[in-house]
């Protein structure tokens, strides 16, 4: 027979500790009864878990026993006094401890703020857990699965009709700009096109209007509080619903809602919402199954099972449009911000990587500072030995000694917390500008104080842990006889801790260098097109129609070199289509192409070169049905000689007239994908103008004047191509800066500790150095004597850090399709930096000791 299952002993002990004896028996009895029953019905693990839970639930005032709380006030007072005296006597060491802890904790709290803000994204929405974004996975010919954030428009109806587990659906156009006008006030605003149920799914509060009524008609608009104030003045309340706003000088939209400004921690960002119907109706081709042009968010019914919903929905497109061969994937909206990378159709992290890295690094910094405290405390143990001995003789227990040393470390941390609060206040603006957030500490909120208290206690106990056990372990007899010998172990532990500190610091330095190099590599990468000195802006229909004359006018502006039009930024290509058909295409092959609509000037203006064939030309009237493809396309289509081969895109049949050299169409994270260029100047909404270096200002002035002529005095809203490109790497840039700060802080704190140890060691060896000097040792000799031990430790740390750094950095770099290979030089640089800093730190102390007059040092006794 199996032995009877038993509830966790510690929980039982805890219960017996706190519970009033009068109630203990009945409570234990009930808990046992439930435990046995559950162990039989389900399993032992479940029963044990619930047992623990219930023990905690019984922890109520009513059930507590009478605690006789003996506060030996005098004793604690004494601990406190001794701690303060010790701190005062050793001002330098105290300063090192407090400063190190303060710097580490300040950094850690900043990181905690950042991390908790990252975690808070989108969780403020009601029923956030029921919202999912629909992604589509499609397999390339080579077996790789690509994940798209877009789906075809007809999917909405299918999901509504066939999937009862879905409560609501929001179809959304990608974020856009639009000119919103109210009589004379016309501004360019950022917003989205979304379906009717936008504000029902996403609970952004409507200050005016009603979620179930807003956006019901094709010409409805909702605007943010800021926009309402901008357009309708301070009295926007009660004064904006039902008003009309002119959209893109095209139609009048009725305001059906004013929403509170979107909070910082929202993934979706917009200042207005227009009806997605409008977008659909304007470009009716988007209603076809083959065009993946919309984002889609669904809200599952409460209590609906997300997993089975995901399985049910997966084949929704294929059932109606088998050609697509795209499976759908439901991604929880609360994970949208932190887990936004997909690899082979599976969620593969994202910003969560940085959240994890920084949390760990913050913890490491605290650890490094705690080690300083430990090392200084144990190194100086000999000075406290007599105190420990006397206390023990008088009758102090080991526990009370541990309590004493713990209270010392907590006191030290507490004092450094004062510096921390000052530091947080002073540095908060810099931190916010660095991370681009608006964070602050609400001193009125008790949660923050609780966190501060928790950090104080955690750090205090951590740094006091080793010293207090070490110091309290001394044997009384040995201390008082004066035969106390410190074992080798303590020294080994100390050296190990120093190595650990420096490994971490050097590792961070390596990290900072690698990140820095990778970022500059990305920024200087040849993209296959020239993004420098290129500005672009929306062009209106009027401008498009008058292109030849406009071009002449613009080229006449001083500083303008060349220009072209296209339907999107070639460094930010978003659309894709599976429709292209070509000669010899395997009918089973499923491949997606990015199609960019351009005019004849595109290649020349972008500095994209031809690999073979010719560019579009006005001399060939049939070119509107002809295509240029990039080298990747040619390879993907399996064409060795693609020229003159027939190609059909979106039903337009023509020939391939040229192959262009590859260029990057998105961030360097992703490899180059197949691209087709088609000559459709009439559909091109963007104008790209290349300016001569140094003459951008005058070019913009001239272009702006021409722009106004065509657009009824609207100012030209332009952007630079290199800026939009750099925006891909914003998180890397922030990461790069932060790692640099972290590395600096880590090595600073570690060196503080080293400084303390070196000066202590110099103090200890004062007489030895004096005698050596008398016997003829030179100053360099003595400096070497003192510093060699420490330099050796830093050297060992360097080796460890290199091994760890090389491996971890390789992991990080594998995120990039195009990356640097960190060479020996980089590691050598990290080594030189850290060794130099450590050496300088020790040098000061050892020089002072080595140059001291031996007469005074030997005479000390």
């Amino acid at each position: 027979m199996n032995p009877l299952p038993q509830p966790p002993r510690w929980a039982l002990r805890f219960l017996r500790w706190y519970c009033h004896p009068a109630f203990l028996e009945e409570i234990e009895g009930d808990l046992y009864e439930l435990f046995y029953r559950r162990a039989e019905d389900r399993n032992t693990g479940y029963a044990r878990r619930l047992f623990v839970w219930e023990v905690f639930r019984f922890f109520r005032l009513r059930m507590l026993r009478k605690f006789t709380l003996i506060i030996h006030f005098a004793m604690w007072q004494n601990h406190f006094k001794i701690a303060l005296r010790n701190m005062q006597r050793q001002k330098a060491f105290t300063a090192i401890n407090i400063l190190g802890l303060a710097v580490a904790i300040t950094t850690a709290i900043f990181m905690l703020l950042w991390v908790s803000h990252e975690w808070s994204y989108d969780r403020f929405l009601t029923r956030a857990d029921d919202i999912f974004r629909v992604y589509s996975n499609s397999e390339f010919g080579n077996g790789e699965i690509a994940t798209w954030g877009t789906v075809p428009q007809p999917l909405e109806k299918v999901l509504r009709d066939e999937h009862p587990e879905i409560e609501r659906i929001v179809l959304m156009g990608t974020s856009q700009e639009a000119n919103l006008g109210l009589s004379e006030k016309v501004f360019k605003e950022k917003g989205i096109y979304a379906g009717k149920e936008m504000f029902e799914v996403f609970s952004f509060p409507l200050l005016e209007g009603n979620p179930t009524e807003a956006l019901r008609n094709i010409s409805d608009i909702t605007i943010s509080e800021d926009l309402a104030r901008k357009y309708f003045g301070e009295n926007w309340k009660g004064n904006s619903l039902g008003k009309t706003i002119r959209v893109n000088e095209h139609y009048d939209a009725t305001v059906t809602g004013v929403f509170a400004n979107i909070p910082d921690n929202s993934t979706l960002r917009f200042d207005f919402v227009l009806s997605v119907e409008d977008l659909v109706e304007r470009y009716p081709w988007q209603k076809e199954w083959g065009n993946f042009n919309f984002q889609m968010y669904i809200q599952l019914k409460e209590n609906a099972d997300a997993k089975s919903a995901g399985v049910n929905i997966a084949q929704a497109i294929n059932r109606h449009f088998p050609d697509a061969e795209a499976t759908l994937y439901l991604h929880p909206f609360t994970r949208e911000h932190l887990y936004s990378h997909f690899e082979n159709g599976v969620e593969a992290g994202g910003k969560i990587l940085y959240v994890r890295i920084f949390s760990i690094v913050a913890l490491f910094l605290i650890l490094i500072a705690c080690i300083n405290f430990m090392n200084l405390a144990t190194a100086r143990a000999v000075r406290r030995a007599k105190e420990v001995g006397v206390r023990k003789v008088i009758g102090a227990t080991r526990a009370s000694l541990i309590g004493q040393f713990m209270s010392e470390s907590v006191l030290t941390v507490f004092i450094s917390m004062i510096l921390v609060v000052i530091g947080l206040e002073l540095l908060m603006p810099y931190f916010n500008s660095l991370t681009g957030k608006h964070l602050s500490i609400h001193y009125g909120d008790p949660v923050y104080w609780m966190v501060f208290l928790a950090i104080t206690l955690f750090t205090g106990f951590l740094s006091g842990s080793y010293p207090s056990f070490f110091l309290s372990s001394f044997k009384v007899v040995r201390i008082l006889k004066g035969t106390l010998k410190f074992g080798k172990e303590a020294v080994w532990v100390r050296m190990g801790l120093v190595v650990f500190q420096f490994s971490l610091s050097i590792f961070l330095i390596i990290g900072a260098l690698v990140v820095h190099q990778q970022i500059s590599f990305i920024r200087n990468q040849n993209l296959g097109l020239d993004r420098e000195n290129m500005l672009f802006f929306d062009q209106s229909g009027k401008m498009n129609a008058d292109y030849p004359a406009l071009k002449e006018k613009m080229l006449a502006v001083p500083g303008v070199v060349s220009l072209s039009v296209s339907d999107q930024n070639p460094l930010m290509v978003q659309n894709s289509t599976g429709s292209p058909q070509w000669e010899g295409k395997d009918p089973d092959l499923d491949m997606y192409f990015h199609v960019i609509k351009v005019n004849e000037d595109f290649l020349e203006n972008m500095h994209i070169s031809l690999a073979s064939g010719r560019n579009f030309s006005k001399d060939y009237s049939l070119d509107s049905a002809n295509y240029l493809i990039n080298e990747t396309s040619a390879r993907a289509m399996g064409l060795t000689d693609p020229l003159e081969k027939s190609l059909e895109v979106w039903g337009r049949k023509g020939k391939i007239i040229g192959v262009i050299k590859d260029f990057h169409i998105t961030s360097i994270h992703t490899p180059i994908e197949p691209v087709i260029l088609t000559l459709r100047p009439e559909d091109c909404g963007f104008m790209f103008v290349r300016t001569a270096p140094g003459q951008t200002e005058s070019a913009i002035a001239g272009l702006g004047a021409i722009y106004k002529e065509y657009n009824g005095n609207l100012p030209m809203d332009y952007r630079f191509m290199d800026e939009t490109y750099n925006r891909y790497y914003e998180s890397e840039m922030v990461m790069g800066k932060l790692t640099r700060y972290f590395a600096g802080i880590a090595i600073f704190i570690a060196c503080l500790g080293l400084l303390g140890l070196a000066s202590f060691s110099a103090q200890q060896r004062t007489r030895e150095i004096g005698i050596r000097k008398v016997l003829g040792a030179s100053v360099p000799n003595l400096v070497l004597l003192i510093s060699k031990e420490f330099m050796l430790l830093v050297g060992v740390a360097f080796v460890i850090a290199c091994a760890g750094g090389a491996w971890l950095m390789d992991q990080w770099l594998s995120e990039y399709a195009y990356r640097i290979e960190p060479g020996i030089g980089l590691f050598a640089l990290a080594g030189i930096i850290s060794l130099a800093v450590a050496w300088l730190t020790i040098m000061f102390q050892s020089l002072r000791a080595a140059t001291a007059n031996p007469v005074t040092s030997i005479r000390t006794e």
């Binding site: 009945e26 009895g29 439930l34 019984f58």
Partner: protein, 108 residues
Amino acid sequence: MGRAYLGEFEELVLLMVGILNEEAYGVAIQDEIKAKADRAVNISAVHTALHRLEEKGFVKSQMGGATAERGGRRKRLFSLTLNGKQALDQTREIRNELWQQIPKIAFS
């Protein structure tokens, strides 16, 4: 003397003590609430309610016999006091009175 206030959950527990008569203790009451009122409650809540009821004088208790299924621990068995019975009666009367005052309108 003003009557001690009887909370909703306390009333439920008190009723169960009445129903179980002599056999009322923590787990049994918990089970009974689950069976009769379809409410899953935590055992600690039941204990707290019983203590309160005892303080108010609505129930009295004595220690019962030990059983093996309880790891050899005794039960505390609760039973209604006269006060408790009266409290239940009164609550019920007030309820009934209030019920009769609801106008007979067809609710849609």
